[in-house]
């Protein structure tokens, strides 16, 4: 069984059916490029994978576990969806960095919140343990617990800081740690956004046209970072209109048109010898735009 399996995803907005049954699978460490003309459903598919939209029909299996089944409404409450989201990361076209926080804080915020939840949980457990303990031992326990909690907090802090520094190094922005988003170029902002998405160590990292909002001279640095992630074994899904990038970096390519997968295969198959007439027409057109 493949690492990720999506089966028969369907999504309607009102009367407009945007996804008309999408199924595909992906192996661990692979990079999947999704191409297609705008309005074809690429972005909706990506948003469905991240549960920003909830598919009307279909199932998703990750690492052998059924993560999502549209027919099981009860299992799709807000807090459950929130946990499911943590398996996926998403880098937006418009970066969407938090403007009031530094680069460092942008990357650490979500980690810190999760760590805080874990910390609070541990604290509750300790308190319960103290209540269960005989009275004369409680005082000693309390001191002990306090020491452990302080240690946990210290470790959490250090862990987050070390991880964040490493991520910044990886996207080449170690010197911008304390800058605010408005002080950065678009390319730098997008690299911070990538680091932010990586910080929660998602199983699958998704990119929604990560270079579309950038000036042409800045797309290179972002694509280079994404390419660099491939060598470190991340599983990635990239919606893109950069055909060269798809050709060179992706292991597999899916062409989506009108809510359906029109063609799928290795880059060599899809770009070199498209079977569908629609794919061929799309590729011709994007080539023309290039020159």
């Amino acid at each position: 069984m493949a690492f990720l399996e999506v089966k028969d995803y369907r999504k309607k907005f009102g009367e407009n059916e945007v996804l008309k049954g999408i199924s595909f699978s992906l192996e661990k460490g692979e990079v999947l490029a999704i191409i297609g003309s705008s309005g074809g459903g690429k972005t909706t598919l990506l948003r469905c994978l991240n549960f920003l939209e909830i598919p009307d029909e279909g199932t998703l299996t990750l690492n052998g576990e059924t993560l999502f089944d549209a027919s099981e409404k009860k299992q799709n409450t807000e807090s459950q969806i929130r946990e499911k989201r943590l398996h996926f990361g998403l880098v937006f076209q418009q970066f969407n960095l938090f403007p009031q926080y530094t680069v460092f804080r942008n990357i650490t915020l979500a980690q810190a919140l999760l760590a805080g939840q874990a910390f609070a949980q541990k604290k509750r457990e300790f308190a319960a343990a103290r209540r269960a303990a005989p009275k004369e031992k409680r005082r000693a326990l309390k001191a002990e617990h306090r020491r452990i909690l302080a240690e946990i907090r210290e470790n959490q802090k250090r862990g987050i800081a070390e991880k964040t520094d490493a991520l910044l190094e990886r996207v080449g922005l170690a010197d911008k740690k304390n800058a605010y988003p408005y002080e950065l170029s678009g390319g730098q902002q997008q690299r911070v956004a990538i680091a932010r998405a990586l910080a929660l160590s998602p199983d699958i990292l998704c990119f929604d046209e990560p270079t579309s909002a950038l000036d042409p001279e800045l797309t290179g640095e972002v694509l280079k970072v994404i390419k660099g992630l491939k060598s470190s074994d991340s599983t990635m899904i990239v919606v893109t209109h950069e055909m060269e990038f798809a050709k060179n970096v992706a292991d597999r390519v899916i062409f989506i048109a009108d809510g359906r997968i029109e063609e799928e295969g290795t880059p060599a198959e899809v770009f070199g010898d498209p079977k569908s007439e629609k794919t061929a027409a799309f590729l011709r057109k994007s080539l023309e735009e290039l020159f």
Binding site: R82, L90, N96, F98, P99, L114, Y182, L200
Partner: protein
């Protein structure tokens, strides 16, 4: 004589400040509740709040004070609220409506992307609101809020309509005994207070200048 009158005016100004502070204390949070109501996905609630805000913003505050004070007695024979309580109730309702519209504008001006970025990072709705959105909203609404708050200082003089002894009423009463200057002297009190508020808001704006939204 001058000090005596300054002191009496100061007493009146105390009432002015009381109305001001109590109004802010209740209207700031109530405005947030109303703004959530006006943005609710539950349609009936949304329209009820919108109509309410329309009525309150569409009628003079002076009329609202009269309604709050005399209404219960005239319509239901319930008796009277304490004058100052009636004034504060009317002010809180009125200003909460104005605040709610400012909040709503501020909240709606935050891009959907900010919420979605929080969502894909596994944040809860309240974490997104308090950790991501709120400060950006605050930065955006400081200028319009400072306008409203300064207007509130001066609107307190409307309390006179139900004989609340705020500073302007105290000063007006001096004219009956033949003293005119206290009336104009009240400007000093208002100016000093508004001056302090202006400094406070300026400081706040500067504090929030470290980022751009």
């Amino acid at each position: 004589m001058f000090w005596q009158i300054s002191l009496e005016l100061l007493q009146g100004f105390g009432v002015t400040c009381l109305i001001f502070a109590a109004t802010l204390l209740f209207a700031l949070p109530l405005g947030l509740v109303l703004s959530f109501g006006s943005m609710s996905r539950f349609k009936p609630l949304k329209y009820v709040v919108k109509v309410f805000v329309w009525i309150i913003r569409g009628t003079p505050l002076m009329l609202q004070i009269l309604v709050v004070y005399y209404g219960p007695a005239l319509i239901f024979h319930w008796g009277f609220l304490d004058r100052i309580v009636a004034v504060v109730v009317a002010f809180v309702i009125n200003y909460a409506c104005y605040f709610s519209e400012i909040y709503r504008g501020g909240i709606e001006s935050i891009s959907k992307g900010q919420y979605e970025a929080g969502q894909v990072l596994g944040m809860t709705r309240s974490q997104i609101f308090f950790r991501v959105v709120l400060l950006q909203v605050v930065k955006r609404i400081v200028p319009p809020m400072s306008n409203e708050v300064i207007t509130l200082v001066k609107d307190t003089s409307l309390a006179r309509i139900i004989v609340v002894e705020e500073i302007l009423k105290v000063a007006y009463d001096f004219t009956v005994t033949g003293l005119i200057w206290p009336l104009f002297y009240t400007a000093v009190y208002y100016l000093v207070f508004v001056g302090l508020l202006t400094l406070l808001f300026g400081w706040l704006e500067k504090k929030l200048q470290y980022f751009k939204v």
